[in-house]
Symmetry: C2
Amino acid sequence: MQFQGVKGTRDFYPDAMRVRNWIIDVWQRVSLRNGFEEYDSPIFEYLDLFTVKSGEEIASQLFSLTDRGGRSLAIRPEITPALARMVNAKINSLPRPIKWFSVPRLCRAEKPQRGRLRELFQWNVDVIGSDSILADAECIFVAADFLREVGLTGDDVRVRIGSRPLTIAALATAGVPAGRTDATLAVLDKRPKLTEEAFREVASGAGLTGEQIAAVCRFQDAGSVDEIRELLGGREDTEEHLRSQEELTAALDAMGVGDYCELDMRIVRGLAYYTGVVYEVFDRDQSLRAVAGGGRYDNLLEVLGGPKLGATGFGMGDVVLGILLEEKGKLPAGGGRVEYYVIDGEEGDFATVMEVVGALRRAGRSADFSYKRQSIGKQLKAANRCGAAKAAIVRGRTVSVKDLATGEQVDRPLAELLGRPAG
Amino acid sequence: MQFQGVKGTRDFYPDAMRVRNWIIDVWQRVSLRNGFEEYDSPIFEYLDLFTVKSGEEIASQLFSLTDRGGRSLAIRPEITPALARMVNAKINSLPRPIKWFSVPRLCRAEKPQRGRLRELFQWNVDVIGSDSILADAECIFVAADFLREVGLTGDDVRVRIGSRPLTIAALATAGVPAGRTDATLAVLDKRPKLTEEAFREVASGAGLTGEQIAAVCRFQDAGSVDEIRELLGGREDTEEHLRSQEELTAALDAMGVGDYCELDMRIVRGLAYYTGVVYEVFDRDQSLRAVAGGGRYDNLLEVLGGPKLGATGFGMGDVVLGILLEEKGKLPAGGGRVEYYVIDGEEGDFATVMEVVGALRRAGRSADFSYKRQSIGKQLKAANRCGAAKAAIVRGRTVSVKDLATGEQVDRPLAELLGRPAG
């Protein structure tokens, strides 16, 4: 009977695990230096937490299960609703702004394809309790700070920044009825994946006239805030959002990541809960899916039973990122496993090998040894196989320390290796 | 509409997350220095992987779900079957012995109670591909090395070591029919949780005579290998296992963790797949459930479609361990979040704050700032609230760096703080 893993999931053998750990370590390090604290939610929640506000895209991708009491649960497909639940539960004792990050394992019941798996790790960075555009700027800075840290430049990746309220204003200006806004946003979110013609077809299917489609495309393709301002024809209610967009750019420039960022009103985002600035990170030539995406979601806490509270953040999955880092040659090289491989040089020395291995490890040094009593040559081979830096060949109370890279060998008293005074 | 987490799961707010990360960091560090490599499996697998060989205890605790194709899946309640599956899939390319560890998130649909939750993190340390008792010794050493590392002594915790084959031999010697062995082992596994009288009742319910019960108890309560040897009356087939037990003790002594370990034939383990040495780690006065448990399982790979290959290892969950570390005062104190909290000293300095924060972070230093333009006093309060070590108050191109612990303050040119040559 042979068993296999479920399609769309990954087995992390040690080499793959080292890469995963390296990515997660950088995510954590960058988050912490940006003043964010780590949290995590359970892997499953009551189903309705995810279906209430995230919209169709997520709801159709849930792995659901039933507990012993017959209640419906789901494995988390995203962490944001759980974040909102957790913040709501302690809303009166948490100092604001709440700057939190997480690296949840998420599951989505979708068809596996390049860049999309059924199980992924997703870095989430959120600021809750601030309406300031600086909170949005901070999140985008964190994303860019990470990209720079792993060696990706503004020539490799771009943070493309759009705006839900400006897009909605553009729809209104074009004469799209308010009742059709959500459906139209979903259509616009698909535009970058469609040909011009296919998009026109989908858009008219959603009820847009040819003129409306043209107007909306002009808005989406605008290259500057001033151009957008002109297209929106000085609508009173948009000036605040236009100014936010300008402040955002200024803040990102001041913080030194302007070279990663660009205005791009084609970015709409699929999730229903966004209310402000939205953005996605893409590889420069857009051969891959989005590396990250996020934006402002000021209503989510309220919808989930809490106060109305400004919130903004992004998620970055490990799947597309991993492909990109591999393509760009930015993944770390595999390293050796241990410092010392300890070998019995003569019969009767094995008890000493055990003593040395135990002492080294207890002192915080890494050490390994062979379970089999075999020739020094075979043990040296095993030492090389596990990438040990040095072999320590024990003979009585003397140890020959051999550097396995250079071949250099030095004899030392055992007590010296163990860091105890000789004698 | 208020939402709650599922009973028996945990929300990891930042303080709890720091503790969880600290425990996992030590698990990883100790594993690596003992020459183990990290792996991980998916959070869910096809259901039958878990039901084939783990026995009733696990099967009754599964969270199962169904994929779109109608196939039964389960969230992993343990990682060992997935480990066996992964090793089997690459059996010809993995150098042996395979020394791997993992820190899986596991879910068990059991009734939540003290020390038992529906979701936990469990350190798993396994050696596959060796029949040597040294592999068992190594795993036990790793467990003890961790316990010592977090400040627990042999007076706080004990690794209690039993033996499946010796226990089975004792049952045979007592005249328990071979067909009743598995059921009797399950009864013996419960003995430590029962009163003497309750145990007698359960045991006779399982078909043991009073004489058999007495004989088995004498065996379980034996204090030394010699005593066991005598009780087993020189059965030819047990001498090998008795000698293994002696070698194990000698190896643990040689490696310097003998003071954590003791022989205890009352340890049987609940899982069906164990075949050799078995052990559990308990707090000294046994007020808590087992902190860890493991043993040898030489048949599991074969049952899961691979070759017959020696395997041994243990699991240590974070729930009971967390309670124990808290009781013993061994959990780390919470630390500050950032090095610098950067403040605008005068109107017009905020752009410089952004510049300083961005530059510090990009240089790998941790820094935070306020989204609101408010008085220096309020910003200093915010700096203290987030545990910053220093406040950096920007005035033009000068910055006053204030140590928030001592109150000491030094004025420095901005360029110096940013590590660029002044001028």
